[in-house]
């Protein structure tokens, strides 16, 4: 642990004492438990989908469209069929009658354009990478070889790559119905009054570039059948949703379809999808009666795993001269890509309620237009809608501070919801149950050394230092714990947001927990064990967690939207409560007492005021034997619970970033990064810290490095990891992290969720810092990713503008 002290910062560090005792009360919740999952992961005894070998397993390779938009006039598979090892070759035509359309579960408006989305293109392709044919062969090399022998004739159609151009009259159409998928509006308060005679008004346009989620494990699918029922292994975040959707899409009855998510190597939203390849592998195995496997290459994945972000945000803020925010107006173009996938249209709506951030204001107006382009569809990517909203509000609040000549922290203080005002219903209509922005910000300022850095900044400005210092502030909140089913229903989402858990105490007193969440790196096996250990008073080691297989975990809504602990964890607690109640009945019976007189502490049922007690393990065995149970008592010590939250949860925090920007080269270096997050109560600080770190890294990556680039013809230019710049260890700084703890009041664990916080917070912190460094040079914005070249160009342009203005005077 000396390592962490090396940092020389008095931030909260995880200490050995946290590991041993957490809060020191013997409870598991709060302890920095090392993860149970690690044992198989550090030794290579993993079960990635691509590891699966089956007798007679065939390999699938897809031929993909090289054109962004074209009519398919001919597909000739005859030569490919004769290649060595080839078992079958299929084109879209072969599946046309049975492949259906890939589902969109979130038709956000009644008049939304919902185009048919065949898993394999039949007559027309609308993005580069769309599957047009496939080979099934005896090994992966032979399958790939035979792709070359398939002939496809395309009649090129015009690509549409720019959202604004796509909406213009006369633009080539992605779909017959036009390029506008929907317009969704939301307004609260009198926005005109807010903007009318406001002392200050700021208008900005921000571009949320397209991102490629880039989970390290490429997607893989294995499908098999015994002729009656089907099993699909997939590298997915959503085995349960997938099962329902695949049943509806393929016509395989739900009870004849088992979906398994084995070890899954990261998702970040990209595996929250019903993919063409999953549907097609099922259809192929149904046709051939043989097991098939498909594993994507990274380049194939960059083209065809759904992308994230891709929004053009026009945002305006009106404020009084003292900085009080009166209202915010947002006009959004949201890039859908060529089709609407599982939650494509809903992603910008998840941000719609977050543009007011942590601030009080009188009015809010939001319009979002979903736009089709001939690109890979977008969908959920870490934060999904909320990072975009947070970026826009946090960026423009900094602009407002600059305009008013105020310190950006001071401006925020004047506008944010005070701790004493919680619960607080925002202008967007959400009720934030709890929060303490003062505490998180004060802690962050102290750790960061804000005043000292400001002094250094002034000094560098004074000296006209070619390396300028910038300070970026991001005081974010997010809406997570997706989600109250009623709210989802009111937003036209096709499903609920509850989560399910089952808890069973085995005859020997060991416990199995079945969860409907589907972890892929989050550590649920560890965290759920901690929760159950406390709830039932059993040792942490005695709990096993079962997940990710619809045959063993029959019910769930899976993992995304920082929901697993906040919704799924609460379901586990509720199931434990039910089990405990059953055990109490048995205990009372065995000890000849009234159930009301039985106390439960740390795994022991005791008759109040006596020395008589039974352990939960004894109760488990007695229940199993069933020799002496209360009349009518079912001999089982298990229970299930489905939890549907009443409200979202609202983690928040203050992130501060200091950058050095070289005004001669445009190079940016993050000098320090402080994150103080309030994610409510914490089950495992180690896991929370990990989630925060990883989230910050992905947010910084959007700010500085990553962008899916297309040319005018719609070709993706960043198909490999050599072109799409994922940051390595050498590209990222160390982070100073700390927490404040304001428990959520809406769930019994007091937890708020942490999976997306870092990503939501960090992008604006970094860009605000860069702009802050360059503001004296006349810079008001740098488009993301803020590469040295971009920074240099913006500076160059600012200098030119300054010169021409000077010249004119």
């Amino acid at each position: 642990m000396t390592e962490q002290l090396d940092a020389g910062v008095a931030a909260r560090q995880i200490k050995e004492s946290d590991v041993l005792s957490g809060a020191g009360d013997g409870r598991e919740v709060g302890r920095a438990r090392r993860r149970k999952e690690d044992a198989r992961l550090v030794t290579g005894r993993t079960q990635w989908t691509d590891n699966i070998q089956l007798p007679g397993l065939l390999h699938v390779a897809f031929l993909r469209s090289p054109m962004a938009h074209a009519r398919i006039t001919r597909v000739d598979t005859s030569v490919a069929r004769t290649q060595p090892g080839v078992v079958a070759v299929f084109s879209g035509q072969d599946f046309a009658a049975e492949q259906g359309s890939l589902p969109c579960a979130w038709p956000v408006t009644e008049d939304i354009v919902l185009p048919d989305h065949p898993p394999m293109a039949v007559t027309e392709v609308r993005y580069v990478g769309e599957a047009v044919a496939c080979v099934v062969a005896t090994d992966r090399y032979k399958a790939a070889d035979a792709l070359d022998a398939i002939e496809v004739d395309y009649e090129p159609l015009d690509a549409v790559t720019d959202m604004t151009a796509a909406l213009e009259e006369g633009s080539p159409k992605v779909h017959e119905a036009g390029n506008k998928a929907f317009t969704w509006k939301f307004a609260q308060g009198d926005i005109d009054a807010a903007f009318r005679d406001a002392a200050v008004r700021i208008d900005r346009t921000y571009v949320q570039q397209r991102l490629i989620p880039s989970a390290m494990e490429p997607r893989a699918v294995v499908a098999q059948t015994d002729g009656d029922s089907f099993t699909l292994h997939s590298s997915t975040q959503i085995p349960h949703i997938l099962r329902v959707m695949l049943a509806l899409t393929t016509g395989i009855p739900e009870h004849k379809l088992r979906v398994v998510a084995p070890d899954v190597g990261g998702g970040f939203g990209s595996k929250l999808q019903v993919t063409a390849e999953e549907v097609l592998c099922l259809l192929i195995t149904r046709r051939l009666g043989k097991p098939v496997k498909w594993t994507e290459s990274r380049s194939e994945g960059n083209l065809t795993v759904h992308h994230g972000r891709d929004q053009l945000q026009r945002i305006s803020v009106a404020a009084d001269a003292d900085g009080r925010i009166r209202g915010v107006k947002v006009d959004l173009l949201a890039g859908m890509g060529a089709y609407l996938m599982l939650v494509t249209p809903g992603v910008p709506l998840l941000g719609a309620f977050m543009y007011s951030g942590i601030y009080k204001m009188d009015a809010y107006d939001f319009t979002c237009t979903g736009v089709f382009t001939t690109k890979m569809p977008t969908d959920a990517y870490r934060g999904a809608g909320r990072p975009e909203a947070t970026f826009a509000i946090e960026r423009i609040v900094d602009e407002l501070a600059a305009e008013l000549g105020m310190d950006p922290i001071e401006l925020r203080r004047r506008n944010w919801i005070q701790h004493a005002e919680f619960p607080y219903t925002t202008v967007c209509g959400l009720t934030y149950d709890s929060g303490n922005y003062e505490a998180a910000t004060d802690r962050a300022l102290a750790l960061f050394g804000y005043d000292k850095l400001r002094a250094e900044q002034a000094d560098r400005r004074e000296r006209d230092d070619p390396v300028q210092l910038g300070i970026g502030v991001s005081t974010y909140t997010e809406m997570c714990g997706l989600a109250p089913s009623r709210v989802l229903g009111s937003l036209s989402y096709g499903a609920g947001g509850w989560e399910h858990a089952g808890v069973r105490v085995l005859p020997t007193g060991k416990v199995e927990v079945v969860t409907g969440t589907s972890p892929h790196g989050q550590g649920h096996e560890t965290a759920w064990s901690q929760i159950v250990a406390d709830a039932l008073g059993v040792p942490f080691e005695d709990v096993a967690v079962i997940h990710g297989d619809t045959s063993s975990s029959h019910k769930g809504m899976d993992t995304y939207g920082s929901r697993s602990l906040v919704v799924g964890g609460v379901a586990v607690v509720q199931a434990c409560e039910k089990v405990k109640e059953k055990a109490r009945q048995v205990a009372a019976h065995l000890m000849e007492a009234s159930p009301d007189d039985i106390e439960f502490t740390r795994g022991e049922f005791r008759v109040r005021g006596t020395g008589t007690s039974r352990t939960i393990q004894e109760i488990a065995l007695a229940t199993f034997a069933a020799h002496d149970l209360p009349d009518g008592f079912e001999p089982r010590l298990d229970a299930e619970a489905t939890f549907d939250p009443d409200n979202f949860s609202f983690p928040h925090g203050t992130h501060l970033c200091a950058v050095e920007v070289d005004t001669e080269t445009g190079a940016t270096k993050i000098r320090s990064y402080v994150a103080v997050d309030d994610v409510g109560s914490v089950v495992n600080p180690l896991i929370v810290e990990g989630q925060v770190h990883g989230g910050i890294a992905q947010g910084i990556a959007q700010a500085l490095f990553e962008e899916a680039v297309h040319d005018a013809d719609g070709n993706l230019l960043t198909t490999t990891m050599a072109d799409y710049l994922l940051p390595s260890a050498a590209d990222l700084p160390d982070y100073t992290t700390d927490r404040t703890e304001t428990p959520a009041t809406t769930n019994p664990l007091g937890v708020k969720g942490v999976g997306e916080a870092g990503t939501i917070a960090s992008t604006p912190a970094v860009v605000n810092a860069i702009v802050d460094a360059l503001r004296p040079h006349g810079v008001h914005d740098v488009p993301m990713p803020c590469t040295p070249e971009r920074v240099w160009r913006v500076l160059d342009q600012a200098r030119t503008t300054a010169q021409s203005t000077d010249g004119g005077l």
Partner: protein, 163 residues
């Protein structure tokens, strides 16, 4: 088809391989050594890193035939007699993994890094692991783990030298 002989995690294999077969596919598909995963097709991610005659190599950029006569250690061969290698332990202790997909490659690359620099600074760990990508952790805990592993390995060596 060329015939090669390789030793993987202490076991000798004689295999006939297509000249184009990648070492990582030999390991995964033929020898069942699925502990070593594949993350890319351009030698950028390092997920497939193994030790080839003691030095780290990205097994997706080595042909199986090139490994003829070589001694290969994968993540599956690191622990001895049921005891984890100090670097495996350090990754566990420091929470240097989440999904774990990058972990085998990270651990193998980290072990190789210590060959040249048994007590690396934070900066040299960051530079040294530049060829290994992790999407989950943000790298801080990986850096901590590598330095912790380094300390434990040198202590072990000192222990061995004095006994």
């Amino acid at each position: 088809m060329p015939r090669i002989s390789v030793t993987v995690d202490g076991i000798r294999y004689d295999e006939e391989v297509e000249p184009r077969l990648l070492l990582v596919h030999l390991l995964r598909d033929r020898l069942g050594k699925t502990g070593t995963p594949i993350g890319c097709d351009t030698s950028n991610c390092g997920a497939c890193t193994v030790l080839l005659d003691g030095r780290s190599a990205k097994s997706c950029s080595v042909l199986a035939v090139q490994a003829d006569g070589c001694d290969i250690v994968t993540i599956e061969g690191l622990s001895t007699g049921g005891t984890w290698h100090p670097m495996q332990r350090a990754f566990h202790e420091e929470h240097a993994l989440q999904c774990g997909y990058c972990t085998p490659g990270m651990i193998m690359a980290a072990i190789d890094l210590l060959h040249d620099d048994p007590d690396p600074s934070e900066e040299s760990v960051r530079e040294g692991l530049e060829g290994n990508l992790c999407r989950c952790t943000g790298y801080c805990t990986i850096v901590r783990a590598v330095r912790r592993g380094a300390r434990e390995m040198s202590q072990k060596q000192e222990g061995a030298a004095t006994s």
